[in-house]
Symmetry: C2
Subunit: 301 residues, 2 copies
């Protein structure tokens, strides 16, 4: 079924111990769509400026991604991010950021997207996420990401959003910040009280945890990667495969969500094997299935 994503398209410059990738394609909606398109048709929504050097339709050639919601603003500039990863490769250091179009009005939801059944709201101001979700008519399952600056500066807006989405997908630091609890199990209980039925906490190389309001729990280690080239986009790729699998199967019971988490974990493990979306663009669905089987054998007892 139809899967809508709204998020950023970025011109990224990324420096890691393995090298530098200048002005490469990035952004949450891009990583998300690349991973999700292995599973389900994607409706893409985002804004770029006149300086955007990427032809997204070519990049996504052969994938079922609808770009009706891609807006090009001829008097604006594209979102740019410069970041670097050091020894640990665990956390990106933002060296420079130009919000550009992201600081302007958000894109408008095309009328043909209004019937989207599955919605992912990538990280942006929570008031915009709420507004966008409000334009979708009868979604079955919606999920949102957020980050430290909104938890800090727009907590009331975020609390409104949390009453509207089915799932929140954040990292461990964000979960601690939002709940004011250090222990992640306690943190999860507090966040679920704020609204969402499902909470997913991403822990980078330590894997992920999923909690439901009815007390179900799931934990999955990350795929054991021996060569991490660029962690950028791992979280959005995770969310893309997670939502893509749900949209394809149409199933939202906890057992199905566990499988969706496993697909998310596998997509993230490919995303970090090269700069930008290069690795995700090069693999086939069979590669994903193969690694899912390996991950199962690595974690089953």
């Amino acid at each position: 079924m139809s899967l809508l994503v709204t998020g950023s398209i970025g011109i990224d410059t990324v420096k890691t111990p393995y090298g530098v990738s200048e002005n490469c394609l990035g952004g949450s909606a891009v990583y998300f769509s690349m991973a999700a398109s292995f599973f389900a048709p994607v409706r893409f929504m985002g804004v770029v400026g006149a300086d955007c050097p990427f032809d997204l339709k070519s990049v996504f050639a052969g994938r079922d991604v609808d770009f009706s919601g891609l807006e090009v603003r001829h008097h604006s500039r594209t979102f740019r991010w410069k970041g670097s990863y050091h020894d640990s490769m665990g956390e990106a250091i933002t060296d420079n950021v130009e919000l550009n179009v992201l600081s302007e009005d958000p894109p408008k939801l095309p009328a043909i997207y209004r019937d989207s059944k599955f919605v992912f709201l990538a990280n942006t101001a929570p008031s915009l996420q709420s507004e966008l979700l409000g334009q979708v008519e009868n979604s079955l399952f919606s999920a949102a990401d957020t980050m430290n600056c909104w938890i800090d500066g727009r907590l009331e807006d975020l609390k409104v959003l949390l009453k509207k989405v089915n799932a929140l997908i954040i990292n461990d630091q964000e979960a601690r910040q939002l709940s004011k609890e250090r222990n992640l199990v306690t943190a999860a209980e507090k966040i679920l009280v704020m609204g969402p039925a499902i909470l997913i906490i991403k822990k980078g190389e330590s894997g992920s945890m999923m909690f439901s309001k009815s007390g179900e729990k799931f934990m999955l280690p990350a795929y054991p990667a021996d060569r991490v080239i660029d962690p950028t986009g791992a979280g959005d790729s995770f969310a893309g495969a997670f939502m893509g699998y749900i949209a394809k199967s149409g199933r939202m019971d906890f057992e199905s969500l566990k499988t969706a988490i496993a697909y998310g974990t596998v997509a993230a493990s490919f995303a970090i094997e090269d700069f930008s979306v290069l690795r995700l663009a090069a693999i086939k669905r069979a590669d994903i299935e193969g690694r899912l089987g390996t991950l199962r054998s690595y974690t089953k007892f």
Copy 2:
């Protein structure tokens, strides 16, 4: 089958955000034996001084633990450790340590322990670990722990030990230090080349990983604990249940080792629920089995 452990008996004073436990029973051999005794008979080996206030035979009443190898030195003092845990509860800060008997000659292996088939060498000087293992006649499976000061200061001794033991059980920081690799998968490959057929890396609240020389891998999250009272002894309890299960089953194939890791994870999750060995001493084997089933449901997809 017979499981031998050699390690410390400590008089611990532990401070956590939940309170202080003064002069309580601690030490690697104590935590190990408490967890292992749920599975197999344990042969205990360690030294205390005249000041030791604990009657280990009473503490372990009803458990099949042989104290023939417990030596009381009437002119010495017992090992003492003062530590504290702060916000993160992840890492102990050592506030004070008195090695006392641990800085003297090690205990001598009783003749009746020489035929031990399963051996755990808790953390101490690697030359002593090698010497002790050499006194056991035909062990089937031996495992050792170590720590940063030996990797730093006794690396050659440690390398000799690594050629003699079947398994090394260390934490993630120690694995990085020993291998000089940040990535744990690469670190594991390097350490396995040094000798052991099996490497287990403990990652605290992020669970554990197991690697074999023949390329097998296993990863298990920690049990999701919502109330950590005192993390002291979690690693030794993990090792105790791991070795106890192996000694009981007599099976050392990788699939059986996976189950052993799961039991280790469960034992650790109980150990941290109270100070000293209070919680481990209070539970029954059925509690362990119950939590093992829960852990399986939390991780299976």
